[in-house]
């Protein structure tokens, strides 16, 4: 073992001499038997270091080599914090062509997620992407395809299906899945996501209407920030911490927390390969640009299972999961006697790879990857489309299209700034 490590070190040294100018050897150059010692750190770049991106700088198991942001201030402030080896960029395409970077972390706003993920895959990079996965259903399909074609690894940055207590349930999703799998609740199930069941919808991600155009600050490359999003007159409320309030970039409270809340539900209902067949909305009329609030969004699957997003916490007695034979409430309280015993008694769910570096090293799909991630993002996007159109919609989970509604289908591939053509 010791010898092997030493010889590897020698090899690294030689390679460095050979490839002058590149200080870090990309992992794939190592090739060999595919043997990778734990000391062999993967390398990464973080795109978007304003708010979410700050958290990505320090994810363990990888070495940061580059950061990128359309805002010079974000970039300068972050460069001060990170090591001297880290280089700053304003244009992410310069990052993608660096051969020594293994993983691209995408923490730019959601309107960038789809395009950047595809471009990263085409450049042979693995991708770690913020939620919500993509801003349209069409972009999601393209990310799935690009990852498959180029054999890339993808992780979406929400984790409740395999780690941590799940908000107000105060228990890991694994236990909820076992409870569901035990059959004790019966079938079909109704899942209610609201403050009452332990999940709070944040409605401060609402946009402002009638914004007055303002001068673009010199530190911000607004054109790059917008990227594929339609051009609108600049106002500081549209960017940075408050962008979630605008349809062009995200989906308000649903975009913010939706995938965190919904993805584990898809998992424990066993719906990772499919989507609901119907979405119903109850909300105020929506503005064309600024996202407003909603009261209730109901999703129904072909087998009768339902997910209800109760934005007003209206159903005060709502169970988190309700089935014909029993209910589970906030805090994992249940009407089923001895639920814990039942859960303990049955086999554990099948394995999910829960560290991305393991996924990248062993080339096993991450627990939450482009495929199941796309399906849970689709639920968020179905809700957004129904809200914007102000009507209920039927969906074909196989074709991934709305049924008998061309207008809704136009939003599956909603065009942005024609394309981001530069």
């Amino acid at each position: 073992m010791k010898n092997k490590t030493n010889s590897r070190r020698d090899f690294i040294k030689k390679s460095i001499t050979a490839a002058a100018g590149i200080s870090i050897i990309p992992r794939h150059v190592m090739g060999g038997n595919g043997f990778l010692a734990p000391s062999d750190q993967l390398t990464k770049a973080v795109i978007g270091v304003g708010a979410m991106g700050q958290g990505h700088l320090t994810y363990e198991g990888t070495k940061l080599l580059a950061i990128c942001d359309a805002d010079g201030n974000h970039l300068a402030n972050t460069l001060k914090k990170v090591g001297k080896d880290v280089k700053g960029y304003r244009d992410f395409r310069e990052v993608l062509i660096r051969p020594d970077i293994d993983i691209i972390h995408i923490a730019a706003p959601p309107h960038w997620h789809g395009l950047m993920s595809v471009m990263a895959a085409e450049a042979g990079k693995d991708v770690w992407c913020e939620k919500p996965m993509t801003r349209t259903i069409g972009e999601g399909k393209r990310v799935v395809e690009a990852m498959k074609v180029h054999g890339r690894m993808f992780r979406l940055n929400t984790w409740f299906r395999f780690k941590d207590n799940f908000y107000g349930m105060q228990t890991p999703v694994k236990n909820i899945k076992k409870a569901v799998d035990s059959g004790a609740l019966g079938w079909p199930l109704k899942v209610t996501i609201s403050g009452v069941t332990g999940f709070n919808w944040k409605f401060y991600w609402v946009g402002k209407t009638n914004l007055t155009p303002q001068t673009i600050p010199s530190n911000l490359d607004y054109n790059m920030w917008l990227g594929p999003a339609p051009e609108k007159p600049y106002n500081p409320h549209r960017v940075h911490q408050t962008f979630r309030g605008y349809w062009d970039y995200d989906g308000g409270g649903l975009g913010d927390m939706g995938q965190h809340y919904i993805d584990p539900v898809q998992y424990f209902l066993g719906k990772d390969n499919t989507s609901p067949v119907k979405v119903e909305v109850d909300s105020p009329q929506q503005h064309y640009d600024a996202i407003g609030t909603w009261r209730k969004i109901t999703y129904t699957y072909a087998d009768g299972c339902q997910i209800i997003l109760d934005g007003e916490n209206k159903d005060k007695n709502a169970a988190y999961i309700e089935g014909p034979n029993g209910k589970i409430f906030k805090g994992f309280k249940s009407t089923i006697p001895n639920l814990k015993k039942i859960i303990d008694g049955i086999p554990d769910p099948k394995e999910q790879i829960s560290t991305f570096s393991e996924s990248v090293r062993t080339r096993q799909k991450f627990g939450l990857n482009e495929e199941n991630g796309h399906r849970s993002a689709t639920i968020v996007n179905m809700g957004i489309i129904a809200l914007r159109l102000g009507r209920n919609l039927d969906f074909d989970p196989v074709k991934q299209e709305f049924i008998n509604d061309e207008e809704a289908n136009r939003l599956i591939d909603q065009p942005m700034r024609s394309s981001w053509a530069y």
């Binding site: 043997f35 007159p233 105020p284």
Partner: protein, 1134 residues
Amino acid sequence: MKKTIIIISAFLFIVFTAQRSNAQINRTLETKVADILAQLPTNDLEHSDKLMEEIISLNTEGILQFCKLLVPPGTGNDTQARYAIESLAIYSGGKGNTIEKNSVEDALLKALEKSSDQEIKTFLIERLQFCGTNASTIQLSKYLSDKELYMPTLATLTVIGTPEAANTILGATKNADKNMQPAFIDALGVLKFKSATKLLQQFANQDSNLIKRKSLMALAEIAEPSSNNTLKNATINANYKLNGTNATNAYIHYANRLSENGNKDLSTTIGKLYLKNCTAEDQMHFRAAAIDLLRKNEGSAFIKTLIKESQNQNNEYTAAVLEAASQNMTSSEVFKWVKTYKKASDETKAQIIRMLSKRTEPEVFENCLKLAVKDNNEMVRITGMKALAYQNKDKSIPLLFEALKQTKSPAEYKAIEETLLKLCNTKDSELLYAQINELNNDGKIVLINLLAARGATSQFDAITGLINNTDAELNDAIYNSLKSVSTEDDLPELLILLNSTEDPQNIKYTQQAIIYVLDNSKNDYSKVVIEAYDKSNEKGKFIPILPSLNDDNSLTLVAEQLSSENIDGKITALEALGAWKNNDAIPYLFDFTSTCKNEELHSKAFEYYLYQVNNSTYPDDQKLLLLKKIMPFSLNTNEKSKVIQNAQNIKTFLSLIFVSKYIDNKELANTASNAAIAIALSTPGEDNELSGDIVREIVTKSANTISGPESQYTKIDANEFLDNMSDEKGFLPIFNGKDLTGWKGLVKNPIERSKMSKTELAKAQTKANEQMLKDWFVKDGIIGFKGEGYNNICTIKDYGDFEMIVDWKITNGGDSGIYLRGTPQVQIWDLARVDVGAQVGSGGLYNNKTHKSIPLKVADNPINEWNTFRIKMVGERVTVYLNGVLVTDNVVLENYWDKGIPIFSKEAIELQAHGEDLGFRNVYVREINSGDVLLNEEEQKEGFKSLFNGKDLDHWIGNKKDYLVENNELVVRPKQGGHGNLYTSKEYSDFVFRFEFKLTPGANNGLGIHVPLEGDAAYVGKELQILDNTAAIYANLEPYQYHGSVYGIIAAKRGFLNPVGEWNYEEVIVKGDYIKITLNGNVIIDGNFKEASRNGTLDGKEHPGLKRNKGHIAFLGHGSELQFRNIRIKGLKD
């Protein structure tokens, strides 16, 4: 189906318009538009749809009215118009398989033509994404050459997506500005427009990398076979690598599209080119793409190559190869992979195992997994073990046991355990246990962990039988499993085990098991446990399980332990108190904490005290008192901040006051501010937020103080909360904590005072005030009494209906009370004074004779401790909570001073002195507005009558669904854009009508006079406009439409409305044909209906209502929200 919908909606439409036209036929288009705009945005979608129908019925001309209201951003507020146009575009696009040409599309195109502002044009072009059809393409083509508009135009044409739309784009592409061309090329690609192929092939040969890149990708999307050479040459030029033209990606993309279109031959040729040319490290993801493609094209015929490629050295690549291989894998392919497995490298072996793990062919198990778990390489072995989780359970388990016997590696033990957890349920317990003797100790540990995880209670004896082993790790696993495998039948054995075990950790495990058993049993095992306790020489071991018995006897045993000399014994006792299951441990913990000098013990006791208070069944008021009580005994900032964090769970006004005191403390500022905000704001799903001036002040200060990563969210929440808070004053202090400002000495009683002359009273008051300063004092925020007499003090202000909070404390033998409206009293006394009946507790209405005078419960805290009263008095009834417990439930307070009359409607609040020491603090009062706005004296004299009492709509008829009473005001809340009216139940001819109204932005209503109960009041009666004519949507009104105008007949003076959101006061005098309207003190109409319409009405319409001189007075709804109050009338004739 669709036809039916059209017919039904057409029918509804006719019915709807018929109704509307009946009521609104004579209105101008502007008025109709304004009426609709005022209802936007709608609160629900049905309402929106209804309005869209209404707009569409106004035809192109009407829709254009909405478009006319659009203004460039920053130059005005056109929000409502934008809501309208967005919803219109969506509504007209409609639900259906295809979007058809429609009147909204037509109008949007006309508006587009007329508009001169680029932003507005962009807005209109983008709306066509919802309802645009081929009909839009010709006009849109004009904007393709406009630098500022070509992108939204391209986007819209792309969405319309018809061949005509594509052709329009193609037509503009060739001569497009070089900077704009890339977007055109992209659009042609997205549309997969075959006719563009030739042009794009030319473009692909241009010098510009950007144009080249875009053209190559567009050609790939379109996937015409004739593009092959162009793409191939570009890829060769790129050396099959990533470069500025992105050709290598485009070409493989092209191949994929060809494959989808059925042109497998060409597609496969390209795939093979990639296999030949992509061999370097930085080309492997292109090689992987080729593999993916060729597998798709060639299916099983490709297996040979796949197997060969799986021997590549690059594991990223081999993983991609196997991923491709796993798509639609046949059984015969599986066999081939099983064969390949044996020769594969370790890394590839692992990958093959993962690929095959879910396959059910027996060869996978026999010739692959069986070997894998015995492989020389650990990684391969572990991969094999994990793969067994997907295989037949009965076959896999023996294999895992075999491995368990062989292995020595911790990672493998872990893998085996995890896999068995995925395979086994409780029913497998015996099967698992049967293996135990075959295993070494490490293997036994795995097994015991498994049995524990599956709650194998049937194996308790077997597992405990393994104890006494010399292996400490094994013993640990056994003890650790006890809590999972024990039942109440095992209790005796567990108690024996507890007594005999010496290892501290294992003692803990055993205690946990006993606690688990006791807590989950319905039977009482006190006797058994206490017996074991008595017999034991190590009683300390039993203390931790006593909380599960939860009886007084056990608590005494724990308390004894607490006073032992031994520190460890004390800690054990504290832990037991901390785990106690009812409120009874709290006093013990308090006594200990308040006297303990040892820092470590103090901090433990402190924490357990807080935990017990927080989890107690006491009401919030009592919990808060208990928190405040411990605060002075906190030794450091950490302990203080924990008290504050616990107060955060108590959502009461006093709790807010308590935490707010620490906002100015530097070290506690953040904790206190966060706590204050959490207390004041509602918890999700509940309406339990606080309100009032003090709450506002504290939350504002807190929001300005908080910091930290989550603080920006909290701030947004706090500000939203402040914005939505009602402007009621809420609880205000009537004691400032420093002196007796606001208080005076008591002079006699209300009845006697009323008989005194002014000078007499003044003199007596001066004397009483002097006495007050002798008897009463303020110290440390407490009002204290040191006097000997019975001289009460009272508030200078009189109170009618109110809610009061006050903390009080008495000493031994104390007797006091709170007088409400100058009348005794809510009783306060020492329970020990049984001679006067004090054992019933405080909080009763002591002086009542007829109504209940005794409290419902005893809820007093001990002498010398603080108590909290919450007293509510409405009308003659009083409700009292003592320390959160309801003690007086809505009881009439009798008039003590004269039993013959009811209680006074308004009088002072008094604090009673009774000779003994007592103290009051935290004195707050919230005045309750009963809402019965009475007429002022002058109006009473003049003969006015109130038409609205703030409580009900007794004097009114008509639409009581959208006209509601809220907060003592008459509120109009049109749900579905209803145009309902609310009429006085009586009819009036000549009168003086006074009222107040508050507008919302753009609000429209009307005051009908002389109106009948049917028809459009403006015509069949007369309508006096009530309108926010400052709103942008009313920019084009006629003079006779402004606020106050007699609609269509007399124009009012403008400019006297108070700003939107403020109350306006209006008086209307009608006498025969004479009318005078005064708005906020300014006469805005002084005229005569007859004279004004002599030469025809201003709107040129017939007003039959001019002939009426009698009718109802009415509020005429136009779908807007607004409020009214203080509605009074004086008839001049009847």
